[in-house]
Symmetry: C2
Subunit: 452 residues, 2 copies
């Protein structure tokens, strides 16, 4: 059993991550080393299989020592990649158990037809042969260029090697995290122990993602591991909820990928389990940290924008408004320019309040903005005259209008690597936080020059 260290990252009542989830009263979160391999019994590895033209590492494996409880949250994109379909099928066949996750970069294996599915199936079979498990116990994820065939031979030839070199230490976890990078400039890992009087569990994770990042998932892959005994249906619902509050609340460019997947492997080897609330807090911390790392490494990003919506009538309203503001190219370019342009913020808030209704003719008897009770999903309630906007601690808009503020203080609040933008809807007490990055020339350069 991994013992919590002295230097806790969060105790009861503290935020578990940048998205504001709270740590339960008696729980303590403590940093752990080793990413996915912080969980005992997990091995990981990565190597260069020749899938990337650059020759950089592009194939990774995360495996348990035996089949364990597993679940995944995947893209909802109607053009989903072969590995997305295969992973879904395998989890259905096993009733939610898996031995390993194979990950590759260099090719998304999306829009690749029957041959793409055949390669995905063959790769799962090769992992199963190397580990001595059933093919259905292998989950597959891919990231890279959409529409290019995934090279079958180099992929299959390297699978025994990556399985053979996988180790249960931090070096193995880092090799795996490194091998799934595409435009990522950083290796992204996190691990924590979550303890309370009942017991302690370890949660580790790795991820990749930099562009094509949308709240309803990203060009991101993530593997999470834990020694907690978390099984279906609790595993599926906990994973779905935590992903929704972390990876589901980030955006870089509002573009949704064909390949996104977050996979959780739960070994159930912890001697004494903490409460479910403590475990969830640990998972919130790891997923929140990984999600934040993605935004911080967003294509062309010079700073992270934390959009806090408070004072909403419902959490759903807060989420929709936060997403609209985080998705506004005009807000993101203003942040890039260090400009406290609250007018653009209010326009984005108001657009969220306009719902999906779109155009509406105003003529003799105009419909008033309140007449939208029938909308499904609910249009967030926004009353312009109640909205306050703050950059850092500087109130730049009060009751929907200009506030007197010190330009130097406002500029300072927009200067650092993290900008906190708070929108108080002034209606009730619900809140949500979204993370995004600024929109810079770097994004254009990366994406106008990234060739098919």
């Amino acid at each position: 059993m991994t013992r919590p260290q002295a230097h806790a990252v969060a105790r009861g009542g503290d935020p578990a991550n940048a998205f504001g989830a709270q740590v339960p009263a008696e729980a303590t979160l403590t940093p752990a080393e080793g990413g996915v391999c912080a969980t005992r019994g997990i091995v990981a590895g990565g190597l260069a299989a020749g899938l990337k033209p650059s020759g950089k590492p592009d194939l990774a494996l995360v495996a348990a020592s035996q089949p364990v409880a597993a679940g995944a949250v995947q893209t909802t994109n109607a053009v989903a990649a072969a590995p997305v379909h295969l992973t879904r099928r395998h989890l259905a066949a096993t009733g939610g158990r898996a031995r390993a996750v194979l990950l590759n970069a260099g090719s998304a294996n999306a829009c690749t037809g029957p041959e793409g599915m055949a390669v995905a199936e063959a790769s799962a079979g090769a992992v199963a042969a190397a580990l001595g498990c059933a093919t259905e116990e292998v989950l597959v994820t891919s990231t890279g260029v959409i529409g290019q065939p995934i090279p079958r031979e180099p992929l299959l030839a390297s699978i025994p090697d990556v399985a053979g070199q996988a180790t249960g230490d931090a070096a193995g976890a880092t090799r795996a995290a490194d091998a799934i990078r595409t435009t990522d400039t950083t290796v992204k890992q996190a691990a924590v122990t979550a303890a309370d009087p009942a017991g302690v569990a370890t949660i580790g994770g790795l991820t990749k993602g930099s562009g094509m990042i949308d709240p309803a998932m990203a060009t991101m892959l993530a593997v999470l591991t834990t020694d907690a005994d978390l099984r279906h249906p609790a595993l599926a619902s906990v994973l779905s909820e935590v992903v929704g509050r972390t990876f589901g609340r980030i955006s870089v460019d509002g573009c949704q990928s064909t390949n996104d997947a977050v996979v959780l492997l739960a070994t159930g080897q912890a001697a004494h389990q903490p409460s479910l609330g403590t475990l969830v807090a640990g998972l919130e911390h790891v997923c929140g940290s990984l999600a934040e790392q993605i935004v911080r490494d967003g294509e062309g990003a010079s700073r992270v924008l934390h959009v806090h919506v408070v004072g909403a009538e419902t959490t759903s309203d807060a989420e929709v408004v936060a997403r609209a503001v985080a998705g506004s190219d005009l807000v993101k370019t203003a942040v890039a320019g260090g400009d406290p342009n609250w007018g653009r913020v209010l326009a984005a808030v108001g657009a969220a309040g306009a719902g999906a209704a779109g155009l509406r003719a105003q003529a003799p008897a105009g419909t008033t903005p309140g007449d939208r009770a029938g909308d499904v999903p609910r249009t967030p309630r926004v009353v312009a005259e109640r909205v306050d906007v703050r950059f850092g601690q500087v109130t730049v808009c009060r009751f929907g209008g200009a506030a007197a503020f010190d330009a130097g203080q406002a500029a300072a609040a927009l200067r650092g690597p993290d900008v906190h933008l708070t929108i108080d809807l002034g209606l009730d007490h619900a809140r949500a936080t979204n993370l995004t990055c600024d929109l810079t020339h770097g994004y254009i350069s990366i994406n106008a020059e990234y060739t098919t």
Copy 2:
């Protein structure tokens, strides 16, 4: 009565504009001179009132010689500007009649509180005094920076001047169109006569808009005039439909403004009216031309991207998919880079097919992508294996997978000022066209440096 010229722009069966609306069998559209003043009895003017720090023209007036039928389509933004509320109230009070439209640039008069509304009311009163009509017969529209107070004195002092210098010729129309520019680099006007055996009507228009342009309306103002006898409720429904198919199908950055308004003044002075279908075709042409001019002048745009979705099950499906592709920053940067990156197109198509459902956990019994019949609004039906993608005439994706194509021909299709991207969903015969522009360094420069 204005006689149609010899050189028709469109005859029966031709497209009325870039968005694909068809001209009815017996109708002929012929270009006309004079923008909004092409309609007899309309006067227009513009001057520098001192609202823009640059000292450039910033105040415009379009007026009829007497009160005429009028309607407006306005932004649905919940943070709507004072002039949006005032125009709505005036149209309701008069039952859909107006004498004049006052337009200003330099200040959006949005998020300006009671003082902003008082200035908007006072400006309507000043126009009414100058023209000798009721205050409720004056409609007001504003564009510019959100949240800055609109300078009352220079605005009110200049209203008699702009009313006095308004003329019924092309010069007056051009002065008005010029005075409402913000980041626009071009003056945007259009006019046409629409004729059939029953009669002939003139339709003229002016607009502004360059950034903050979204399908559900834009930072755009437009005034349309016609001598047709078009009254409520037909006026409201025709205007709403045509705006939905033209201004409603363009985007620059997906950001919705607080101030958008399209106003139509119908004088009813035409001696012999054409059929309603012919009149609609004329209105489609003028609105389509103005909308296309906005996209072509999009902030930082180097080319216009025409997104044609064909083979959809319903027009609504085609619209949603076209909007998703036109709204994808990754597609727009690929077009800027001249890259036929069809994988990004398919990811955007698939994201539209994912609907607003967002995240969904895949675990033991995963929901299949078809299980969304209950979604409201309807998620467009997309079957990845049926989708073809063409740039110009070059098929780059066939049945959802890579097609063999000549790289030189594809590059050529992405080179000119207009790029035509066709997505054939392969399901049925519904279609829709959206216009957007590429996303370039120019957009970042304009919006990161445009200060509050």
